[in-house]
Subunit: 229 residues, 4 copies
């Protein structure tokens, strides 16, 4: 039906064209999509770009994901593997001190999430939450709630064991979360733009945050300044 273009010689093409790899496709597309959505945002990413980065044509994308929005949701779902059961267990059986737990928590967060492609999901959710309220709610249920719960238990343990001060446990959760989220956001936004301006060494960053978080800025024993607002 369509006027076929003059058959282009597949001259020295070593890779198999029209590869038949149904199993591999969705994963490659999801990877490409994650990268691009993180980099440019959902709306500014063109479907064709995703396909091209995955090494397939535009049409192939829609063979696996009926719409761009479904692709987005699949990207989130794919990378939201609920590993909290495992992590909860890991922390329940943790034998060290509570400060060590906090230290371990933050280091592991960086190693397992921050330093990996999974960190893109965090950036993606925070940037796109308002355009995808149902995704946001899903993330809330599946990640935020169990995550904060895990951290809260660490803090409560520390207070109960007399290792931590009588902190505001509920809101101190964010003293662990905030520095990690900040690091991840920087990695994917300003840090990715001008690395020369943001020579953030993640290990040193995490180390400094842990140190300040556990011991505070102030020299201990100095005159306690008043805590009135």
């Amino acid at each position: 039906m369509r006027p076929s273009k003059p058959a282009v010689e597949p001259s020295a093409d070593l890779l198999p064209r029209r590869g038949r790899r149904k199993e591999a496709r969705p994963g490659e597309l999801l990877d490409a999509a994650l990268d691009l959505f993180v980099e440019k945002g959902f709306a500014a990413t063109r479907s064709e770009e995703v396909a091209a980065r995955a090494g397939v044509s535009k049409g192939t994308l829609f063979l696996y994901f009926p719409t761009k929005e479904e692709l987005f949701k699949a990207v989130i779902r794919e990378n939201l593997s609920g590993r909290f059961a495992e992590w909860n267990e890991e922390f329940d059986s943790f034998e060290g001190s509570s400060p060590e737990m906090v230290r371990y928590c933050m280091r592991v967060w960086w190693e397992r999430i921050g330093a990996t492609r999974a960190s893109g999901i965090t950036k993606l959710i925070i940037s796109e939450a308002r355009n995808f309220p149902d995704i946001a709610a899903f993330y809330q249920q599946e990640v935020i709630r169990p995550g904060t719960e895990l951290i809260r238990r660490i803090l409560q343990r520390g207070v109960a064991r007399g290792e931590f001060r009588a902190i505001d446990v509920e809101y101190s959760v964010f003293s662990i979360i905030a520095p990690m989220i900040f690091l991840i956001m920087m990695k994917h936004s300003l840090g990715a733009c001008s690395p020369q301006d943001y020579p953030l060494e993640p290990e040193r960053y995490v180390q400094a945050q842990i140190d300040n978080l556990l011991h505070g800025l102030c020299v201990p024993g100095a005159s306690q300044e008043e805590n009135d607002a």
Copy 2:
């Protein structure tokens, strides 16, 4: 991102303004644009929506801003009040202790930025940085650098005066920045989606962060655990 036309300077600025009647227009457009860009992102915001929210017609928008991209840049510029000179002075003449400076810094950050519409800019920059590298660089110069510099000076002062421990000043800057940025990001993303899931009270949040930051989680004097990685 498409190539932006060379920004056309609105020459009418040179003429003496008689009535201030219509002069409110650009401001209303910038306000509307800020809200919508923060809410939906640059790419997902339609020019017509901006105009409608500002109460003018589509054509009028392009009367003041030659392209959507220029509108975006104007939104950023408009809300990047270079108040660092003022703020630097405020801190240079600050008479209290360094812990008080940190406390003041974080409270004022929330009051002057976080609680106001200006906080949207932070969200916007972080979300859109990679689509607007020049904007990101501009922000880097105008906000990040002076901001971190200001905070660094506070920390150095505290160390110099023996009020703060021998912290990693360079990276401890983020111990102040991260919690504030996190609060602002939440306010504009997940927090705006499901307020019932995020009943964050900003004052209590800031208070808890300040408290933990200054005194740390650990009870002072407890056996210092080793700081090796």
Copy 3:
């Protein structure tokens, strides 16, 4: 934003480009759409063709009709002006004989519908009914039912006045409808394809149908052949 093509001189263009004629547009578009839908069918007609035939650009079409399907429905609605009230009245006050009514009915059908653009709607509905069941139902209500009712009354009148035989009134309605619909369908399908093969003169056609319908093929008084199936 978009790279503007080198401004083409509107050399000798007498017609106003970018005409501002909001009132006229929908009608012109509906006319163009009717023609094309009749000619090529709904699915095979491209939106851009409709726009082009109406002398506007693709985008303009969607300014007035949100989707191609809505355009289709509007085409039907526009041309389905329920003139049955008027026609009912016309026939209720008809003073001639019932055969004259039949004759008048068929001639007027051709003049007011068959010979005009409105006949396209008939072709359209019949060809597309199964793709647009709601349209078909609507047409059923608004056109078919009142139309058959009108004709049934004519036939009943003829029987009641002793002018017509004891016909099967219910199904004799189609003895009037069928020839008219056939003529209209031919006009828009095979007749439009090869006029040289279909030199149908509508007036002679209608005349012949009326004549046969009223008096039958058979010579009157000839031996009635049996009517068993």
Copy 4:
């Protein structure tokens, strides 16, 4: 309509066929295609649907028919059984009266065409004629011309034998054709949409049309109204 490739002749026809196993394929595809083309039209029918309904894969369809358009033509050709030689003979040797011939003609038309899947071709041709002028011309040659010729001979016989009035033979042909085509069109369009609104009993319909056609609506002997236009 796109330019159709020159139809490739399936050369395998020359080889002696061993098993008839797979030879059913093309027929099943043609059947499926006929149904779907009639139901949705050519453009709105997807090749994959045709294949699916025939119980084969998309690829197989194109094994037998090089393009969708060739499939369409094959559907027409397949169902255009040139049985006119046979039918002509049947009528040439018909022994009854001319009214009986008309009656027989219409009944047989319904039984052999109207009531069978072949009736879909009629609907298809009429609906798609303008998109396939060559098909229309072919149909004209193969069906319309011999069909009208057959009917014309019946009418002429009746006139010659004094059984029919001095009718306009040329145009009276349509008095037989129109009601049959109308019935078939209804069956495949509006009648298929809302059967509850179209409880057309074909036998009663055909009976009524025959009756009216042969004897007319008017009571014989009543004052002949003038036949001037």
